[in-house]
């Protein structure tokens, strides 16, 4: 193999004449990956916690609703869900709304679909962790709270959730890592995140190895930083007396 290595490619001005270098493309991709993932993570946490609570409340109807939600999102591939959000939902909405969506800039449509899709996809996994956290608490806690005269929402608010949230931080770390990795799937709808910028760079420069190595290293970097931050958080919220938490 006679491959011409050229690491200087990242300092070359890009061929499209946008005034930036190919290195700037990588940085833009990194920023997009981080902003999509963090926005989606907010949705995942809010919806996931809500559904996780619903799965444990003493109401068959609400439990079924939450279980159905989780099963639906867990048994359809992420790629299919993404295409459904991006291509199909605008078609199925009432015409006025669909047209309004289609008039947005393509970047906004891609970003919106990516955030909603990743957020809800991850929320199903967060839900299962939150449910497991709540169910790992002794049943006596709920009963004691109710016996003291707290209403059920109050029991969740003051007794169950403060404890459950601290217990689910370690398992949520891997979901948080996954959301960054899964964001690479969004390159398929044209969102210019890290993986997409890497491929685009290959098309323009024919330097695939440099580009892919740079992208891979950036994902590793994200991984290391997230793990370090979550480790700090885990130490802060650790419940004294619990093993491994």
């Amino acid at each position: 193999m006679s491959y011409q290595w050229n690491w200087a490619v990242f300092t070359q001005p890009s061929a499209v004449g946008d005034g930036g270098t190919y290195g700037d493309w990588m940085v833009a991709g990194l920023k997009m990956t981080v902003s999509v993932s963090l926005s989606a993570w907010i949705i995942a946490l809010v919806v996931g916690c809500l559904m996780g609570v619903l799965r444990t409340v003493p109401s068959k109807g609400l439990q079924r609703l939450a279980t159905g939600y989780v099963e639906l999102l867990r048994n359809i591939p992420l790629l299919v869900q993404l295409f459904i959000w991006y291509f199909i939902i605008p078609e199925l909405l009432p015409t006025r709304w669909g047209d309004a969506i289609k008039q947005l800039a393509p970047e906004t449509q891609q970003f919106g679909a990516a955030v909603i899709c990743l957020g809800l996809f991850t929320s199903a996994r967060v839900c299962e962790q939150v449910r497991a956290g709540i169910q790992s608490l002794p049943i006596g806690q709920t009963r004691a709270a109710l016996a003291l005269g707290l209403s059920l929402p109050q029991a969740y608010r003051f007794v169950l959730l403060p404890m459950a949230f601290r217990l689910v931080v370690p398992p949520l770390t891997s979901e948080f890592l996954n959301i960054f990795k899964n964001s690479a799937v969004c390159s398929t709808i044209g969102l210019l995140e890290l993986a997409a910028q890497g491929r685009q760079l290959v098309d323009y420069t024919a330097q695939p190895y440099e580009s892919f190595i740079a992208v891979t290293l950036m994902y590793l970097l994200i991984n290391v930083i997230v793990m370090a931050l979550m480790h700090l958080l885990e130490r802060k919220v650790k419940v004294p007396g619990y093993m491994g938490s």
């Binding site: 193999m1 099963e71 639906l72 867990r74 048994n75 359809i76 591939p77 992420l78 790629l79 299919v80 869900q81 295409f83 459904i84 291509f87 199909i88 078609e91 199925l92 009432p94 015409t95 669909g98 890592l177 960054f180 990795k181 899964n182 964001s183 690479a184 799937v185 390159s187 398929t188 993986a195 890497g198 491929r199 695939p208 190895y209 892919f212 992208v215 891979t216 994902y219 590793l220 991984n223």
Partner: protein, 227 residues
Amino acid sequence: MAYEFDWSSIPNSLPFLAEGMLVSLEITLTALVVGMVWGTVLAVMRLSSVAPLRWFAAGYVNLFRAVPLVMVLLWFFLVIPQLLTTFFNLRPGTDVRMASALVGFALFESAYYAEIIRAGIQSVPKGQLAAATALGLSHFQAMRLVVLPQALRNMVPLLLTQAIVLFQDTSLVYVSALADFFGAAYKVGDRDGRLVELLLFAGAVYFVLCFALSRLVQVLQKPRVQH
């Protein structure tokens, strides 16, 4: 609702979709078998007392688990064709996307299986290995005859759950335009201008298959009578 459904392009394209499903299943099965064998080797290496083996396995597993599958697939679609043409004198035009996908998925999944299998091995009480060694079995024999059979039993549910995830992930060969089930559905939908129906159909098929399998896993997870 403004959209008018027209499902008529699905019945005619069923054979094409079935071919796509075969590709999906082929990738899943290959990655499953290779992943379990190579994953077991990696897990045993990771628990071995030889430091370089341990480092290699840990490095392999951590690297693959830190990088998105899409990126791993892109790597293999880049590297494998070049390797194959270099070593087997293939003509540059030969379609090696399937081979690349198979290798990529198998090596990627091995990292995940290695972690499941390692946890399974560690769930076997230490006394088992000690007793096997005391009976005169070599380390290799003790692993093969005593520890691994018990470990494998413990981790059947997790291995199956990972297989469901793997089956869903095969849809990502879309990045190489290989026509797996999802790719086939997309192509038909694109051709007939019926993307909405075809994507919903694909989603429904994935859901039915994966949901049924996950129910099976739940049945297996029910605690069995212990002797």
